[in-house]
Symmetry: C2
DNA sequence: CTTGCTTTGTACCGACGGTGAACAAAACAC
DNA sequence: GTGTTTTGTTCACCGTCGGTACAAAGCAAG
């Protein structure tokens, strides 16, 4: 009993995790490339693939593949098991929440959204979120291996308090991770034990998702900047791992100075990115008052898309692009990423005038002339949600044999 | 012949490198703690230690240790072999150069300095530097495993050009790494092949040295800020590895805005850290003209130490501390390090009024109130030099068996 | 000094993962 | 059809590491 456990935890095929990660991120479509990517012999790669298949995580298609092309015996193709286990991912945002069951590869199996107005009691919201997930699990009959939550706030490590849940009407410092774990424990979802239940900042998790499955694939040092409702968020993925700082508070980029004569900010300075390049700032620059319905992001996006011909809108867009570019240039000087991805309003601004933004960044970053950093729009739907799922999948990617634990509890 | 080679390169005791690193950084004083730190059995740790001893890298002292204290059989103590191999480290700075032979553990075995005025031809300087190192190797009879160079300039990866060797009178973009390697190859130092010859920014390497052997030991995310002559440099060590960005240009912190009404900077903005918090700025704030002799750092340091009673000097120090604190706070918001180390003039400013700097950083960083980041002065002599040695040692720390290569070539 | 107790080092065995080689299989080229 | 190329599979061998048993070296108590 204990014997098999220790054996499994400490030894175990060391290539199992890397192999699953390669399939998970789409870098190992066949067993042959899995062999070369892992740097092992064909025999080992075969054993690893067989073991992952036995764990119910991938499928090995040995039938003759129709895809021709090169010479030699065609390699067996590797797929993520479409009926394999899932994780429960949830996102809370200004307009409500969204939950999803997410399989390996960032595949959304089922999703729900609800609750337009978020009550001030986080425990209540989280119970509703977990109930939504439990319902989807019930209906789909999937096995659930973990759960994670994305929130629009800095998340303090190691305990996961929400430090600035500004547009959630939640109390500052709310112990969101603990509340989420308790909600999960109360719901008694099979497979999801109280030990699981990660929580992270939504922009951080979006960056993680884009890095693994979206526009950030292949980047080594990936910087993401996004603005969803109020303020500006940043995230950084280094060597495939999210850098959230020693206490989870890294990449609070909102207080870079981008306009010395700008509006005062609650941080004590003036002209911060937070108040100069978010949806509200855009509406203000275009001399539109924020309307009562729809999120600020939606109002700003609609304005940008539908009235870009209007000179005042265009001027506002140019102004925000210049400020955003200044902020990004500052980050480039500090972080020197090899790719930048923009989300939310900033994605729209990039779409409106890509050249202007790239020119500003190249001009104001120290070494911008030599090449320039690629700046791309984010490319995934629900990327924060998928990123939360990545968080929940991480233990499995680190050691796929964990799926054997609690195996009897699967629903 | 080739058999042993492949065996050595691909397999080999996986714990060998980590074990050497533990002894190297002083975290494994005895075999017992080596066992627990590595998380292996006593038997394995014993075999690993014996192998490292056989490689001539460490010595295992099995004699009865005089140090008593705890109960039970005293553990064998582990030392770095004092007569073991060394690497050649060199640093070029505004006042000349310094070379050293550095053993494991950052121990400087021999050192030389020279050449007060650096000629404009880097190849000439590097030849002189290498000749100095070769001389020391000759005299000491040590075996040399590698060589590395620290320069006061951003170093572009992957080729190692000096991008802004401002106070060296070297041409911008000089291929320093290539020139250094050529100088090494020309000198035909046994053991140092042309394949070795790393180059890095001096502040980056100082940070690496402080992380492993100095005030940064134990930090997970370490930020260093220093000002030596002109401008301000930064460096970041994440999870024990230097983060120099995708093209080596990270942590160019000199162009953070710290004084919106400040002096114009060549980057196009105004009030940049570079021109507001370096030795020249300090002299200016104290209304002293830079003198003809001694580096700017020395002049500023002398002024700060010897005339701190002078109100104008004290006011200048306070001003620079405030500006520096603003810049550091910005970096804290972006990087969220768990420790900060200051070098050069900034180390002196910290020493002059530690509380003022810590207060400014805590006040202007977003989450500074909750604890506050420890800010410490750097603690090593010649930390850039030791950091360069770390670079040269890295291949050995990654796989200690490389010392067997070129073994016959040892002098 | 002798007898425990505790901690560490060593010798040995067994388990197991991975390599390497030989062989079989599945495609294309001629 | 016969080669050639690439891939999958089987199997023997080797090395590393875990685990156990035992010896060694100190302190503590009598």
């Amino acid at each position: 009993m204990t014997h098999t456990r220790t054996t499994r935890l400490e030894r175990g095929r060391s290539a199992l995790g890397p192999a699953l990660e390669l399939v998970h991120t789409g870098r190992a479509p066949t067993r042959a490339v899995l062999t070369s990517e892992l740097g092992v012999t064909r025999a080992t790669a075969g054993a690893v693939a067989a073991e992952l298949e036995a764990l119910g995580l991938i499928t090995v298609d040995s039938r003759p593949t129709a895809s021709a092309g090169s010479q030699g015996r065609p390699s067996h193709r590797l797929f993520l098991d479409e009926n394999g286990p899932v994780v429960l991912a949830a996102q809370i945002h200004a307009d409500g929440y969204r939950t999803a069951l997410v399989g390996l590869g960032g595949r959304i199996v089922a999703t729900e959204s609800g609750c337009d107005t978020i009550p001030a009691d986080p425990a209540h919201v989280l119970a509703e979120v977990v109930a939504s997930g439990a319902g989807m699990l019930e209906r789909t009959g999937r096995r659930c291996l973990g759960a994670a939550l994305a929130i629009p706030s800095a998340v303090a490590e190691p305990d996961g308090e929400a430090l600035n849940p500004l547009h959630l009407a939640w109390p500052t410092g709310a112990p969101v991770r603990r509340l989420f774990r308790r909600a999960l424990a109360d719901a008694r979802i099979p497979g999801v034990t109280a030990g699981i239940g990660f929580t992270g900042n939504d922009v951080n998790l979006a960056a993680l998702a884009e890095h693994r499955h979206g526009a950030g694939r292949g980047a080594r040092d990936l910087l993401c900047v996004a603005s969803g409702h109020r303020g500006v968020g940043g995230a950084l993925v280094l060597d495939g791992r999210l850098h959230s700082g020693s206490s989870g508070l890294a990449l609070e980029v909102g207080h870079l100075t981008v306009n010395p004569e700008g509006a005062p900010c609650h941080c004590g300075s003036r002209g911060c990115l937070d108040v100069e390049a978010d949806p509200l700032a855009f509406l203000g620059a275009a001399r539109r008052a924020p309307g009562p319905e729809g999120s600020l992001l939606r109002q700003a996006t609609d304005l940008l898309r539908e009235e870009y011909d209007d000179p005042s809108v265009r001027a506002a867009a140019d102004l925000l692009i210049d400020r955003l570019g200044l902020g990004i240039a500052g980050l480039v000087n500090i972080l020197n990423p090899d790719r930048i991805i923009l989300g939310g309003l900033h994605r729209e601004l990039l779409g409106a005038d890509p050249e202007r933004l790239r020119a500003v960044v190249a001009d104001r970053s120290l070494w911008g002339r030599s090449g320039g950093v690629p700046i791309l729009p984010c490319s995934l739907d629900h990327n924060s949600l998928v990123g939360a799922a990545e968080l929940a999948w991480q233990p499995v990617l680190d050691d796929p044999l964990v799926v054997l634990e609690e195996g009897a509890a699967s629903g």
